[in-house]
């Protein structure tokens, strides 16, 4: 089985998000970039599914050369090889289009993405990529079992789940539950340096969206503290002041 895992290079989860240039640019100063946590889950499952010579795992990223540290991390975790499409990831459409063009030339049996990237939270690449390739997609999955021809997935729905079977190939966005992220070992880190990383130039594609500016959530006022033995007071405040119960 040949598995493709689409990975994003995102700010570390502990990052305090700030902006520059009149709130039009994300301030990357001092920001540590990491492999998107949901993509780590996809990668871990892809490695499990192909473990023991049952296939290969290719990771693909749309990004400039600055993302190579994250790509090498994915190789250290256990990906077989990597592809970087040499362009800024303008938006989900741009990224999905670039990856679809690559996949049309280099077919895969299964394509995984994280359920969303933790920077723009779109969860769009999986669906767009599948639509461009005219294959099925499952938006957010909690479990994935696959043979060479068919897979069973659990899709998250509000208040439950759906169990779905579908033939390969398809695209799925993975969430917690699919696999435990893997930590690279020393051998992985050593071998990551020499694993193939192919750089591909992007194709031209018209864009459909532009980020104009950013806003941070409005700061909240001072907290109103209620004594621990006066919970009735809290309920009263929630009822008559906050009006939420």
């Amino acid at each position: 089985m040949k598995v493709l895992v689409c990975i994003s290079n995102v700010p570390d989860t502990t990052t305090k998000i700030t902006f520059t240039d009149n709130n039009t640019q994300f301030n990357t100063n001092g920001v540590q970039f990491i492999l998107n946590p949901y993509d780590e889950i996809a990668l871990a499952r892809a490695i499990e599914l192909t473990d023991g010579g049952k296939g290969s795992v290719t990771v693909i990223n749309v990004g400039d050369a600055s993302t190579e540290a994250t790509i090498r991390k994915a190789l250290a975790i256990g990906a077989t090889d990597a592809v970087r499409i040499n362009a800024k990831p303008h938006d989900a459409w741009y990224v999905a289009y670039q990856i679809a063009e690559y996949v049309k030339q280099n077919p895969f049996d299964l394509i995984l993405t994280g359920r969303e990237s933790i920077d723009y939270n779109g969860s769009k690449v999986a669906g767009m990529l599948a639509e461009l390739l005219d294959i099925p997609s499952v938006s957010i999955i909690k479990k994935l079992d696959a043979t060479d021809s068919e897979a069973t997935v659990e899709r998250e729905i509000e208040g439950g789940k759906e169990v779905i079977t579908l033939p390969l190939p398809f695209v799925a966005g993975t969430a917690e539950g699919v696999a435990e992220p893997k930590i690279p070992n020393m051998r992985g880190i050593m071998s990551a340096r020499t694993k193939p990383l192919t750089v591909v130039e992007p194709v031209e594609v018209p864009t459909t969206s532009e980020i104009i500016s950013y806003e941070t959530p409005a700061p909240r006022g001072q907290v109103t503290l209620v004594p621990a033995d006066d919970t009735a007071k809290l309920i009263e405040l929630l009822h008559s002041e906050a009006r939420v119960i």
Binding site: K16, V138, T152, I157, K161, V163, S213, A228
Partner: protein, 325 residues
């Protein structure tokens, strides 16, 4: 050019998040001085469909056949895109639900549309620019995105737009679409619902607990409080990582982002990753024994105290309030 809203049903009923999305789509149609058409796929009773008129839908396209009874991502996306073309709709609105997240990107590609997913406010149209505010950085910020394409797809974050009742009854029409076989590769084996609990993304009140609860055996208090308030239960990442609670309850940057009217956090310190997932909650209550817990900095109301001491008292107070209400 009209506006099309996909009214997703759950077991034949529309939820509040759909009434929000219809109200929101109606406001967009009003901005454009055009009409709002809804589309429903699956088995929904005629009066339930007609009731979408209350929120501003002029017409409801009803797509009901055996093959489309259950959600099939590819086929549903085809039906919605075909309906948009047939109605001459240049804006398609969906709820940013789990299914909506699967549909929006496919519909967008079919219509060559830009997508604003996780929208939290009405679009603004100034000088030919169509901009819309959406969540970004997992709740740590918002991005204002311009959609530059002629067609547009907008997925609305639940609990971010008020339900507005404007009209009366919508006209319900059967709508048929030629479906292609290749759209039906996925097969639904089973739907598993976690009983009658309020689902977390839909909940107006969320009761969430963290490591301060010390172990899964102590969640009875959390569930009791949630049941009394008609709330969903949630938890912090360490709690779901430890297997005390299911991953589907994990709220935060790498879990679910919620925007309830009331978020009650018990025994959660307030790590930046957790705060990201709850920052759009309208009112936040924090109960923590550590007065220095970072969570108090973003709370509206707080109680400094041990969960094991405060929770039983809070449960008693809610019972008393409910008895007197």
């Amino acid at each position: 050019m009209s506006v099309l809203i996909y009214a997703e049903n759950a077991d034949g009923k529309f939820k509040k998040s759909i009434f929000e999305a219809v109200s929101y789509a109606k406001a967009i149609a009003d901005q454009k001085r055009t009409n709002l058409v809804a589309i429903s796929i699956g088995d929904v009773a005629a009066d339930e469909l007609a009731a979408l008129g209350k929120y501003g839908a002029e017409k409801v396209l009803n797509v009901s056949n055996d093959k489309l009874k259950n959600f099939v991502n590819q086929a549903y996306a085809s039906v919605i895109a075909e309906a948009a073309k047939a109605q001459g709709a240049d804006i398609v609105v969906l709820s940013n639900s789990f299914s909506g997240r699967g549909l929006a990107p496919r519909v967008a590609v079919k219509l060559q549309a830009g997508v604003a997913d996780g929208a939290v406010a009405l679009p603004e149209q100034n000088g030919g620019k169509f901009t819309i505010k959406k969540t970004a950085f997992s709740g740590k910020a918002f991005a204002v995105v311009e959609l530059t394409s002629a067609n547009k797809v907008i997925a609305l974050t639940p609990n971010s737009y008020k339900v507005v009742e404007t009209g009366g009854t919508a006209q319900v029409e059967d709508f048929t679409v030629e479906t292609k076989e290749s759209d039906f590769k996925q097969m639904l084996k089973e739907i598993v619902r976690s009983t009658d609990k309020v689902s977390l993304p839909d909940a107006e009140i969320v009761v969430s607990a963290g490591r301060g609860l010390k172990g899964p055996e102590n969640w009875g208090m959390v569930e009791e409080l949630a049941d009394l308030l008609g709330a969903a239960t949630a938890c912090s990442k360490p709690v779901s990582d430890a297997g005390w609670r299911p991953h589907s309850e994990h709220v935060g940057q790498t879990g679910i982002a919620v925007s309830p009217n009331l978020y009650i956090a018990i025994g959660i310190s307030g790590a930046i990753q957790h705060l990201a997932g709850i920052s759009s909650s309208k009112v936040i209550v924090v109960i923590n024994k550590d007065a220095e817990a970072p969570f108090f900095k973003v709370a509206d109301y707080g109680i400094v105290g041990d969960a094991f001491d405060v929770l039983p008292k809070l449960i008693a107070a809610v019972k008393e309030y409910k008895a007197s209400a």
